[in-house]
Symmetry: C2
Subunit: 192 residues, 2 copies
DNA sequence: CCTATAACTAAGCGATCGGTTAGAAATAAT
DNA sequence: ATTATTTCTAACCGATCGCTTAGTTATAGG
């Protein structure tokens, strides 16, 4: 009996994600979301309950987006350490290009809301856990193919790489490419 | 002939700094600043021109604060690499304590405004330059006392340490102390 | 075709935003 | 004491905030 929605939840959510990514949480208003998502406020509230609700779903979407576009390459890697370098360089290039000038939505949100909003924190921790696992999987393969020493503490290595990627998420906005490249080079020196 | 201000600019500015540090730029309203600085809106606008004006001065204040309380120890260090470890641990403890739960105002601002506001960017770059110089000074001493190799590229090392400290600024809010300690340990492995 | 149900539009809610301004109060030179 | 100058208080500005709601439109079962 009811009328059909004339928008696709997944589609408008992706647009919301990009908007939060570009502007941050506080600086994105419901009116902005209306324009960017292409639907009316009523529809936003009936589908997501609140601005906060849209945001949390957008974080989940971003999580998925990063997995699909960046992390799967690492997971499917044959265990070459150079794949980590490629991953970092890819991130730098992305931020320095026009596509994703606002860095990493997860890191941005960690800074803006990490210590204030419980729901956001849960998403963040999930993301960082998965990122660590991803590095872990690659490192285990690298260990098997003797690209890293047999005595290496992989968990420590994975933690470290999570930290390095988040460092880039901050500094990529401020520092020039040369300094960032230096950082990547230095970072990987410890992975032996 | 004129009436005297009945507040101290430096005092109210320090309060403003702490407020921005705690809440971020967007989430701090003029009304909040009124309460926290303890002066009327009129006084804020006559002394700082705008909310943005208060913010930039607060960034300068923070810059000075960090130099006095954290970086001077590094600068005056005799060149022991352990001083770097102490510096990182000090930062972690700070964030994990009640004092400065919102990390580093510079990193926070880099994330929120770094790519949007020119004046903020200038402050940020000044801060990161000084941070790099600070590490540089320590590293040069460490080189002299043979704590690092004579062939080491100190500039690269200093850049790297800037990156590491900013990594902590993000992850300290999200990850537990154990993971952060791992990160510090791994970070310093590259400084040889 | 009628009706129940949900999705739509658009106006509007009180609260708050950054910023201004009129008028009173205080100060120091005359 | 008078006066010029500046700071103060407090009310107020239009704009925007997150969110709601009244009324209309579209849809599918009976």
């Amino acid at each position: 009996m009811p009328r059909k929605k004339n928008y696709d939840i997944d589609e408008v959510l992706e647009k919301a994600m990009k908007t939060f990514w570009q502007n941050g949480y506080e600086a994105t208003s419901i009116r902005t979301l209306e324009k960017e998502m292409g639907i009316n406020q009523f529809s936003i509230y009936s589908s997501f309950k609140s601005k906060h609700g849209v945001f949390i779903e957008a974080l989940k979407k971003y999580n998925f987006f990063v997995k699909e576009n960046f992390l799967n390459i690492l997971i499917k890697s044959e265990g070459h350490l150079s794949d980590i370098r490629t991953f970092f360089n890819q991130f730098i290039d992305n931020v320095k290009s026009e596509e994703a000038t606002n860095g990493c939505l997860m890191a941005n949100s960690a800074m803006e809301l990490g210590s204030k909003d419980r729901d956001t924190l849960i998403q963040l921790q999930g993301f960082y856990d998965f990122l660590q696992e991803t590095f872990m999987i690659l490192l285990e393969k690298a260990k098997k193919r003797n690209e890293i020493g047999q005595e290496a503490d992989l968990k420590k290595y994975a933690n470290y790489l999570v930290g390095c990627s988040q460092s880039l998420a901050v500094t990529a906005k401020i520092l020039d490419k040369e300094k960032l490249d230096d950082f990547v080079e230095m970072s990987l020196k410890s992975i032996v």
